[in-house]
Every structure is written in structure tokens, then in C-alpha cells.
Amino acid sequence: VIPEILEALRQPRTARDLAGELGLPLGVVEDVLRLLAGRGYVRAAGIDCHACSVRALCQGSGEKVWCLAPGAWRTGSPAPGPGPAPPA
């Protein structure tokens, strides 16, 4: 679960995008992101509304876009389990 999420976050994504791409329940992805953000592995990069055609009318909050936190991943620390190692 976590290696896949970290790998996918090489490109900024919303929790919903991650859940769709990885076939995980949205709630699980949100929890993992909360956990990782709490320890400084990932951070919210902004709110994703730019692609929405009704953004001027929208009352929604948009969705947080998540990305890897720069420098937060410890040097030499591989991602857990079978997932590929993230960049240092």
C-alpha cells in the first residue's frame, strides 16, 4: 500500500486519483496520506481546481493535491516492502 502510494506521488496527485489508480479504498488512501503527512513524508501541494470547467461557480473545497515532501525521505532508506526505492 505505502510503496505504491509513495511511488505514485512522484507526480502530484489527489487522494481520489491515487485511490482510482491503485485500486484502493479512498478512506485507506486518505488515512495513509494523513499518516505520512504527519511524519513529513508527503505534503499537500495545493488545491486541484484548475481543470474544472465550473470552477467559477463551484462551492466545493476542491481536493488537496499531494506530493512527496522534498528532502523528507531519509537518505538510503528504501521504501518498505517490495516497492521501488524513492529518490533520495
Binding site: I2, P25, E30, A44, Q59, G60
Partner: protein
């Protein structure tokens, strides 16, 4: 214990008959609550903890849940799991198995899981976990007897998660040096570098293993979390079938309710229905309560008591306190409707929809929930701002909260709207609520130019839609109405006593009494607003203490000048019987009236008497609307001012009160000047 919004408080209420606060959103329970009941001849204490996703304690509520589990050593832990979100919920379950407490898993909300097409195998989960697993629908009482029975025979769970060999080795050695029952969990948390207290004696072992893991390039935190998530996934697959495709109820409703364009009109319509429901169903019972009040005053008049005692009982107690209590049906039906919005999940979505509007006026999106709470009572709403980050975010929301029409102000609106705008009462009150909200947001917007920008994240979690049972709604409405009666009772009684005393010093013409002259002296301020009657002006003064007092004071001062008619016992009973029949007819008529159909039973024509009659003769409809506007916007109550002073300092509280008074007067002036020309 369990994830947020899984029905923990509902389960405890259902098991014990307690009245813990329940709601369909994350974070309804923010403190430790207890309830008691007897089970199998034993007295059982149930402890309700705030919802938490893990034992990592990233919020104060999660820290409270963790502290309770670690320090209080419960006899048994009931882990309430949302059956429709098994994989997510089982992460916490796995942590709980590592704590070493006897455990029972309550697989709640199985009805919602079934609606999603998820087939559950509680027995398979029980086999995998090695602890009792009970499927329940707590809100409908399903499975409760089994929970109670199996909680008396819980099982001690064994290790559930296999961690990588190096971590297992580290946990083994570290756990042996820890002399606490939850040693496996503590060893894991310490290796993951969570904030936990490790005994001095175990520190060298811990440091040794942390060093070894770092040397080996192992990130213990990630490895431990990953192992738990994988095990949670395996367990969920073993216990729950795949949900069938297609969109569930929540997705289908959200496509309409959260629609970018239709969302706001849908919610405005929803709130209008709330007010229409409140008026149509409460009006017959307000009339009935008014009739009870008149009969009581009549009976007191027939007792042959000394004039002063009779005056106090009939005009002071029955006229003042009785007038406020007469409006409790309005509050009951309002709370009933709001409880439905809250429990069903619509209220949380309103906060979600308001996010963009909130941000445009410099408020954090999450600040809308305290604003919504302000419609019930401003004081807890002010304390709810503590959930926001940053002093200035909190301040902006707190300055907007006093403009939210609390339920105490509803009694004034209900009285005046029924007297002056009987056909559009629901629309008038709806407009006042929206007006208060708009001016609150305007206040925040003005303040955002003076204070630094928002720092609070706007992201919030949406609960699923749920159909609350009638029993839950009635219980919530009853509890909140009783809270109002209990909370307001003392203040109203004291204010009514003072007002009655001032009205009778010196005895005789009330307008020449101390109260009449004091109120008359303030009259010049309210003449431009079309409010000339000294009794209307006078009621605004004790209204500073609490808005519940306004109607009571009006009752004392208006009814004090009317000679009550003495009633015999039979006459009174006959009048009460007629009033009851009329109330029942009115309730029957309310059902078709909700959808604009003709009445089922022809209602008798209404003849305004008592306070409504006296009021209608003392002010014009435009003046009445200005009066309601002033009541909506001026300082809500002493308790709100005190809460503002405590949270933000006296200067901000004083500035807020001054702004409210200014805005109330200006808005009242505008309403009267425009209204009287239409």
C-alpha cells in the same frame, strides 16, 4: 473505541439507554463520556472515546483515546468498526490487538454495507482475528444482546501482523525489557519513533535497535505501517465480498446535493422546508400552550388572592414564564427538523458547499461548522472555533457567530411572525436567518482586511447519508428542547421577577412605573425604527442578559395592563378541551399543508387575544420587522459576550458588542424606512 463516525455513541446509547450526543459527522464526541448499565447481574461502565484512525495520536482527541486505552486498563475493549469500510477500520483493530486488552469487534452499520452490495462474513473475521466479532446495526438495536453477552466473555487477541524479520527481532528483544501489558505495541511505537514514554531501563535496548535499523536502511515507521495495512487488506478480503458495481445512494444523492450549480439552491430549499415544517407543525401547539396560559391565569384570577399576589402569579409567572414556555413547541419542531439534517448527513454537506463562499470572505471552510452550531446556541459555537488553526481565523469566525440566529431568538421571531405575518411566517423567519448569516459573513469579510489571511485547511470529510430512526430524532429534539427550558428557566424567572417588580413600583399606571419610565427614556433611540411602545423598547434591555427573556418580559408588561377574566374550573377545562381538539386538527392539517394541499379538517377562525392581540395594536408590521431585525443582530446574551472575552480578550468582546449594536440599529432603521414605504 473506533474510527470516527462508526456509531460508537449510538451503540453506547442503545446498550445503556444513555443520552450521549450523536451526529453524522466525524468528531461528534470530543471528550471521554461514561454510561452505565446492568448486564448479567453485573454493573457495567461503558466509556465512549473520540473517534480515532490509529493510535498515533495526531490530534488532541486521538491522544485522549490513546491515553485512556494505555492508562486506564479497561476490562474489555469494544472496537466499533464500520462494516462498509472494513479495510480502513481494521488498521486500528490491528493496533488494538497489539495492546493486549481483551477485545470484542463490533461490526456496525452492516445495513449500509449491504446497501453497498458488500457481503460480510463475521465468522471468517472472527476466525482470523481470534476474538469475538458481532454484526450490528446499533441505531436499530440489532445485535446488541449478542454484543452484551460476548463482551462478558472477550478473548485476548494474539499477534496479528507479521513484521519484517529484523523488526520482529527488535520488537522481541525490546518487549522483553518492557514491563507493561501493552509491551508489543509500545515496542513497535518506540521503534517507529512515535511520541511514547519508554522506561529508562529499556532505553539502551531501544537505542541499539534504532541504530541497527538505520544501519540496515530500514525505515521502521514505514515498514510497520505497511505491514499493518497489508494485513488489514487481507483481513478485509477474507471477511467481505467485493462491493457490486454502480453508484450507491451517497454517490447518487451527492451528484445532486454537491452539484456545482444546483447544490446551493437545493440546500436553500432544504432549509426553507425546515422552517415551513417548524411553523406548520408547531403553530397549533403554540396556540394550545397560549390557551393553557389563559386558563391558568383565569383560575388564578378566581382564587380570591390579594391583588399583589394574584398579579405576580397571573401576570408575572404565567404571563412571563408561561409565554416563553408556550414557544417550546416551535423549538421542539425546529430541533426535530435540524436533527434530521444533522443525522442524515445533509448538514455536513452544507458546510462542504459553503467552503468556497467562506474562503471568499476570508474565513476558513471548516469555520462553517461553528457558524451552523451558532443556529442552536452561540456559546458552544464560539468554543467550537478552537478546532480552527490560527488566532485570526478563529477571531473572524467568532465575530460572525453572534449574528447567527440562535434558538432563543427564535421565540421572538415565532411570536412576531405569527402576529404580523401569519401567512408568510416561515418565509420571514427564513429571511431573518439568511440575513443574520449574510451580515455575519460581511463582518468576517471586513475583518479579513484588518487581520492576516486564513491558515486553516479547508478539506473536510463527508459522512455517508443515513436515514435516522424516528426514535433517535425524537430523542435528540426532546433533549435539546429540555436543555433550552432548563438553561433558560432560571434566567427568565429572575428577569420576570425584576421586571414585574419594576412594573409595580409605584403601583397603578404601568407606563408611569419605574420600568415604564426607564423604557420610555430610551424611546427616542427606537422611534426612527418605528418602535414607539415603551413595552417593546423595555423588553430589549433584559434581552441583553438572554434573548429568551424578551418574550417573557413582553408577556409581563403587556398582560399586566390587561384585566384577566376569572374562570371557573369547568369553564377552564372546557376551554382546554376545545384548545386540544383545535391543536390536533391543526396538526392533521399540517401534513397536506406541507405540500400545499387543502386542509383535511376545517380549522376555526383565529381571533388574536392576549399578548398577540396586544402586540398587533402597538406596532406596525414594518416596525415589527425592524424589531425582529434588531433582536436578530444586537448582542445575543451575556454568556456569548463572556465567551468572546474569555477566548479573545475583553477588547475584542467590547468591539464585537459595539459593532452588533450599531449594525442592529442601522439594519432596523433600513428595514423600517423601506418597509413603511411599500
Amino acid at each position: 473505541v473506533g474510527n470516527p463516525n462508526t456509531g460508537k455513541s449510538t451503540l453506547i446509547n442503545a446498550l445503556s439507554g444513555a443520552d450521549l450526543q450523536v451526529g453524522n459527522w466525524s468528531g461528534t464526541t470530543v471528550e471521554r463520556m461514561e454510561a452505565h448499565f446492568s448486564c448479567g447481574g453485573r454493573r457495567v461502565t461503558l466509556v465512549d472515546l473520540p473517534g480515532t484512525y490509529s493510535l498515533s495520536a495526531t490530534t488532541p482527541e486521538e491522544a485522549l483515546a490513546r491515553r485512556e486505552l494505555l492508562e486506564q486498563r479497561p476490562d474489555v475493549v469494544l472496537d466499533v468498526v464500520d462494516a462498509g469500510n472494513l479495510e480502513r477500520n481494521l488498521y486500528l483493530t490491528l493496533e488494538l490487538t497489539e495492546l493486549g486488552h481483551p477485545l470484542v469487534v463490533v461490526l456496525n452499520l452492516v445495513d449500509e454495507a449491504a446497501e453497498k452490495g458488500i457481503t460480510l462474513d463475521a465468522a471468517a473475521l472472527e476466525r482470523e482475528l481470534g476474538v469475538p466479532v458481532v454484526a450490528t446495526v446499533a441505531s436499530r438495536g440489532q445485535g446488541l444482546a449478542e454484543v452484551a453477552a460476548r463482551a462478558l466473555h472477550p478473548a485476548l487477541p494474539g499477534p496479528q501482523v507479521s513484521y519484517p524479520p529484523l523488526i520482529e527481532e527488535a520488537v522481541g528483544e525490546l518487549a522483553r525489557s518492557l514491563e507493561v501489558p501493552h509491551r508489543r505495541w509500545l515496542a513497535l511505537a518506540a521503534l517507529a519513533e512515535e511520541e511514547v514514554e519508554v522506561p529508562e531501563a529499556a532505553r539502551p535496548v531501544l537505542e541499539k535497535w534504532r541504530h541497527r535499523l538505520r544501519e540496515a536502511g530500514v525505515d521502521a515507521f514505514l515498514e510497520i505501517a505497511e505491514a499493518r495495512y497489508r494485513r488489514a487488506r487481507d483481513l478485509a478480503r477474507a471477511a467481505a465480498g467485493e462491493a457490486r458495481g454502480g453508484h450507491g445512494l451517497t454517490e447518487r444523492l451527492d451528484s445532486l446535493v454537491l452539484h456545482p450549480v444546483l447544490g446551493v439552491p437545493v440546500f436553500l430549499a432544504g432549509f426553507f422546508v425546515v422552517f415551513r415544517f417548524t411553523y406548520l407543525f408547531s403553530d397549533p401547539w403554540v396556540e394550545f400552550a397560549g390557551a393553557v396560559q389563559e386558563v391558568l391565569a383565569g383560575w388564578i384570577g378566581a382564587l380570591g388572592l390579594p391583588r399583589l399576589v394574584r398579579s405576580f402569579l397571573a401576570e408575572g409567572l404565567v404571563g412571563g414564564l408561561g409565554t416563553v414556555l408556550a414557544f417550546t413547541p416551535v423549538l421542539f419542531f425546529l430541533y426535530l427538523a435540524l436533527s434530521f439534517l444533522e443525522s442524515s448527513g445533509f448538514l455536513a454537506r452544507m458546510a462542504f458547499l459553503a467552503d468556497r463562499v467562506m474562503k471568499s470572505v476570508g474565513l476558513p471552510g471548516r469555520g462553517f461548522l461553528p457558524l451552523l452550531l451558532g443556529f442552536g446556541c452561540n456559546v458552544p459555537a464560539l468554543y467550537a472555533t478552537r478546532t480552527l488553526e490560527g488566532f485570526h481565523d478563529r477571531l473572524r469566525v467568532a465575530m460572525a457567530i453572534p449574528f447567527m440566529a440562535c434558538s432563543a431568538r427564535m421565540t421572538v421571531f415565532a411570536l412576531f411572525a405569527a402576529v404580523f405575518f401569519p401567512r408568510q411566517a416561515d418565509l420571514v423567519v427564513f429571511g431573518l436567518y439568511l440575513g443574520g448569516l449574510s451580515l455575519g459573513l460581511l463582518t468576517a469579510m471586513l475583518l479579513s482586511h484588518l487581520t492576516p489571511p486564513s491558515v486553516t485547511s479547508g478539506v473536510m470529510e463527508l459522512p455517508p447519508y443515513r436515514m435516522p430512526t424516528a426514535a433517535v430524532l425524537l430523542r435528540l429534539a426532546r433533549l435539546r428542547t429540555m436543555d433550552f427550558v432548563r438553561g433558560a428557566g432560571g434566567v427568565i424567572l429572575a428577569a420576570v421577577l425584576v421586571v414585574w417588580l419594576l412594573l409595580n413600583v409605584p403601583p397603578g399606571d404601568l407606563s408611569q412605573s419605574l420600568y415604564g419610565r426607564l423604557a420610555g427614556a430610551l424611546g427616542f433611540l427606537f422611534r426612527p425604527l418605528g418602535i414607539e411602545d415603551w413595552r417593546l423598547v423595555g423588553a430589549l434591555v433584559p434581552g441583553f442578559v438572554a434573548k429568551e427573556v424578551v418574550v417573557g418580559t413582553l408577556g409581563v408588561s403587556y398582560l399586566g395592563s390587561q384585566a384577566g377574566t376569572a374562570l371557573g374550573l369547568n369553564e377552564g377545562l372546557q376551554a382546554l378541551g376545545q384548545a386540544l381538539v383545535a391543536a390536533l386538527q391543526g396538526t392533521l392539517n399540517a401534513f397536506p399543508a406541507m405540500v400545499g394541499l387543502p386542509q383535511l379538517v376545517s380549522a376555526p377562525p383565529e381571533v388574536p387575544g392576549g399578548l398577540p392581540g396586544a402586540l398587533s395594536a402597538s406596532v406596525s408590521p414594518a416596525g415589527a420587522l425592524a424589531y425582529m431585525t434588531f433582536v436578530l443582530l444586537y448582542t445575543p446574551c451575556v454568556a456569548t459576550m463572556a465567551a468572546q472575552a474569555r477566548e479573545f480578550g475583553r477588547r475584542w468582546a467590547a468591539a464585537s458588542a459595539a459593532w452588533q449594536l450599531t449594525l442592529a440599529w442601522l439594519a432596523g432603521l433600513l428595514v423600517y424606512q423601506v418597509g413603511s414605504r411599500l
